[in-house]
């Protein structure tokens, strides 16, 4: 039986045409990126206001930085200075005679000056803006954010153009500094998104970050969170807590994934095998490292489960309702309580199930004490080794602590029944191998006998630790330390808890930890004899 088209449907279609149809210039974009999509799709470019056809509108103001020499720059790296020229700011994406941008297609070989980057950036910013605004009522993003694509510099030393191999959200005050350096008034004291491309790092591959909707959405979500929310470590009874920053990353992964209805947050284009997957079982403390993108997967995984429970719209709404109340240091635990409060209000029948998700993920009351496993991540995965903040970047209450800054995570070690001596060998690196400055950090170990975590009290305004011992190991080889423990506090068959303590000013990356237990005492001097 043939069925007629209801009048309401026709009206809705006509209204829809009014939004996207005649009068709206069309353009080609990847729905996500060149890896996920075999071809581009045609979309309308909404909210354009630029009189000259430039991609400038109510919610995005896009510029290209093409590979023609602009202002001279000198990057001061202390030991050396790199001179060169900044790229030139232009609007290269312009309409054809029909007012469309369909002549702009992905380049066969990206040389970092493609107008396609501008089109991708403009479309995907406005698309996500409209989603956040129309679906969840978010209004503080109703302003044009500046976005620069293909930012690059001609480096005299290499005699070539080098792209910025990353994408960033730039808050207001730093954007003002950029404006002064760039020298033209495209950043008039407003926030910005700055995107580059990679032609220098083999680990990243040939990637243009503005070709990836997920990366655009990720940075735009950081912009939506803003420059004064979820940016600093918190402090709790286990020491510094990096979960606020991880939470920022979790939202920047989750909301784009929810919008695109895929749990592959990082996407396969810009991150490759490091792509983040929200359909995971990660939990606190087992999967916490101190690296905020990785730790964020604990929270974003919980949010993805919440989405399954409540449905996309309801889950996203409660998450936004909670998130906008967060401050600089809202932790996993506080966030989970706030989200559950919103679930209780909007879907009370689901509150118990939602609470179970957050409990199983360890977001509620995580003790950040995990079972130790040996690892050795020297090599390309070094960035994913646990990080211990240095005195300069730590919460001020720890910056002046006598022993140093505790790591974000503690480790529990079970001693064998015949263990009389334990050696903990660890490799703390500071600086960057890429800059030739990688060195052994000034890192000790805090030790506590038994199964309980090392805790901190702050009654005097300074941290007081429950650790029984804080000691730095003996230097081993070029970069490692080895701490050997023996004595009456080392109880065979019992547990031992340790935490890395950074006495240096810079953050240290712990690229390996190896524990050796022995029934034989080799060190004639007992090192662990006080544990009351």
């Amino acid at each position: 039986m043939r069925r007629g088209i209801p009048l309401l449907t026709v009206l809705i279609a006509l209204v829809g045409c009014g939004a996207d149809g005649p009068g709206q210039p069309m353009a080609n974009v990847f729905r996500i990126n060149p890896v996920e999509d075999s071809s581009t799709i045609q979309v309308p470019l909404r909210h354009l206001t630029g009189a000259d056809g430039a991609l400038s509108g109510r919610y995005a103001d896009v510029w290209n930085c093409v590979d023609r020499p602009g202002r001279a720059i000198s990057v001061n790296l202390g030991a050396m200075s790199i001179s060169g020229k900044l790229c030139t700011f232009e609007r290269t994406a312009l309409p054809d005679a029909d007012g469309d941008y369909l002549q702009i297609t992905p380049p066969k070989e990206d040389t970092g000056d493609s107008a396609f980057s501008e089109v991708m950036m403009y479309h995907h910013i406005t698309a996500l803006h409209d989603h956040y605004h129309d679906s969840y009522g978010i209004t503080h993003i109703d302003k044009p954010i500046r976005a620069i694509v293909n930012i690059q510099g001609y480096v005299d030393l290499f005699n070539k153009w080098i792209g910025l191999p990353n994408a960033n959200y730039i808050p207001v005050e730093h954007a003002e500094l950029l404006r002064q350096i760039i020298g033209i008034d495209i950043l008039d004291g407003a926030e910005a998104l700055v995107f580059g491309y990679n032609n220098i790092s083999p680990q990243i591959g040939q990637v243009n970050f503005s070709f990836d909707a997920m990366t655009i959405y990720h940075e735009y979500t950081h912009f939506t969170m803003g420059g004064s929310r979820l940016l600093q470590p918190a402090v709790d009874r286990y020491g510094p807590d990096s979960s606020p920053i991880a939470l920022n990353e979790a939202f920047a992964d989750y909301f784009p994934s929810s919008y695109l209805d895929t749990p592959l947050a990082g996407g396969t284009y810009t991150l490759g095998k490091l792509a983040r997957n929200l359909d995971n079982k990660r939990r606190c403390p087992d999967d916490m490292t101190g690296e905020t993108h990785i730790d964020g997967e604990v929270a974003s995984g919980a949010f993805w489960e919440l989405r399954r429970l409540l449905g996309r719209t309801a889950a996203d709404q409660v998450l936004w309702d909670a998130a906008l109340s967060f401050t600089l240091t809202t932790s996993f635990d506080q966030a989970a309580r706030a989200i559950l409060d919103e679930v209780k209000r909007t879907a009370p029948a689901q509150e118990a199930a939602a609470r179970k998700i957050f409990e199983q993920r360890g977001l509620l009351g995580c003790d950040r004490l995990r079972a130790h496993q040996d690892y050795d991540n020297n090599g390309p995965m070094a960035a994913y080794s646990p990080m211990v903040e240095g005195r300069d970047g730590a919460p001020a209450i720890f910056a002046g602590a006598k022993e140093g800054v505790p790591g974000y995570v503690q480790y529990r070690l079970h001693l064998d029944a015949d263990t009389r001596e334990v050696s903990i060998e660890y490799t703390p690196l500071v600086g960057s191998a890429g800059q030739g400055a990688e060195a052994r950090g000034d890192v000790s170990l805090a030790i506590r006998a038994g199964s309980d975590p090392i805790t901190y009290t702050y009654d005097s305004g300074k941290p007081v630790s429950s650790a029984h011992l804080v000691l730095k190991g003996q230097a081993v080889g070029e970069k490692a330390y080895r701490l050997t423990l023996s004595g009456p506090c080392l109880v065979p068959g019992a547990d031992l808890v340790f935490q890395l303590i950074n006495n240096g000013r810079d953050p240290a990356t712990i690229t390996s930890v190896k524990v050796t237990q022995s029934p034989t005492v080799t060190n004639p001097v007992a090192t662990f004899h006080t544990c009351q």
């Binding site: 960033n168 808050p171 402090v235 009874r237 905020t292 401050t327 506080q334 309580r337 001020a396």
Partner: protein
């Protein structure tokens, strides 16, 4: 026999007593205030004198706009959000379909308290449903800097082993974390410091205090 205490010691004790806030008293007052809030669910970090988050509220407000409504709530709870010399400047009002969040930045005798403020969550009936706060009571002996902006930038560049740039962003304010102190907050251009961060320099001693993130790490 009368025992004499040196005058300098008396002065030192007096100064210390004045400078150190009565921590336990302030904390106890905040706890009493929270206890009066029916149905409140409280998150109270172990090192803080005041709670970081209070939810489960349904407090009526007074006022003709969101800022005044939020202020009426905050002024009704001085043990949680007040303090000698402290004031609140509205930063913005953010909203979702269900909520309006009025965000305030803390000031101390007119100076910004970096990173400190209060977010008040209003519902569609103008009731306060939640509040998040980074605001702690402050007491500083002086808000007169002992060094110039330029000297503060110099301290940052010395720490980073960089030449002093002609462009920078430096602002005097208060760092409330740990022991509160007067600081300059300095941002350097990316050609000098590629990290998007703030540097903090003690505005009395010129000591480099540390850095804080100003934005999330790169999107990868």
């Amino acid at each position: 026999m009368a025992r004499w205490v040196p005058a300098s010691l008396c002065l030192l004790v007096a100064v210390e007593a004045w400078a150190a806030p009565p921590r336990l008293e302030l904390q106890a007052a905040a706890r009493r205030e929270v206890a009066l809030m029916a149905g409140a669910v409280v998150s109270w970090p172990v090192h803080r004198l005041r709670p970081a988050m209070i939810r489960g509220l349904a407090e009526a407000t007074r006022g003709s706009d969101d800022e005044s409504r939020a202020r009426s709530f905050l002024q009704a709870h001085p043990a949680l959000f007040g303090g000698e010399g402290s004031s609140l400047a509205v930063r913005d009002v953010q909203s979702t379909a269900d909520r309006r969040v009025v965000r305030f930045d803390q000031r101390y005798h007119g100076l910004p308290v970096f990173g400190a403020g209060v977010s008040v969550v209003l519902d569609q009936s103008d009731r306060v449903r939640a509040v998040s706060s980074e605001m702690e009571p402050l007491r500083l002996p002086s808000i007169q800097p002992g060094i110039s902006q330029g000297a503060a930038v110099g301290a940052v560049c010395a720490r980073l082993d960089r030449e002093i740039p002609t462009l920078f962003n430096a602002r005097l304010g208060i760092l409330a974390e740990g022991t509160p102190r007067l600081v300059y907050r300095v941002a350097l251009p990316p050609t000098v410091d590629p990290e998007i961060r703030w540097h903090l320099v003690d505005a009395l001693s010129g000591e480099y205090v540390g850095w804080r993130r100003a934005a999330p790490a790169g999107g990868r």
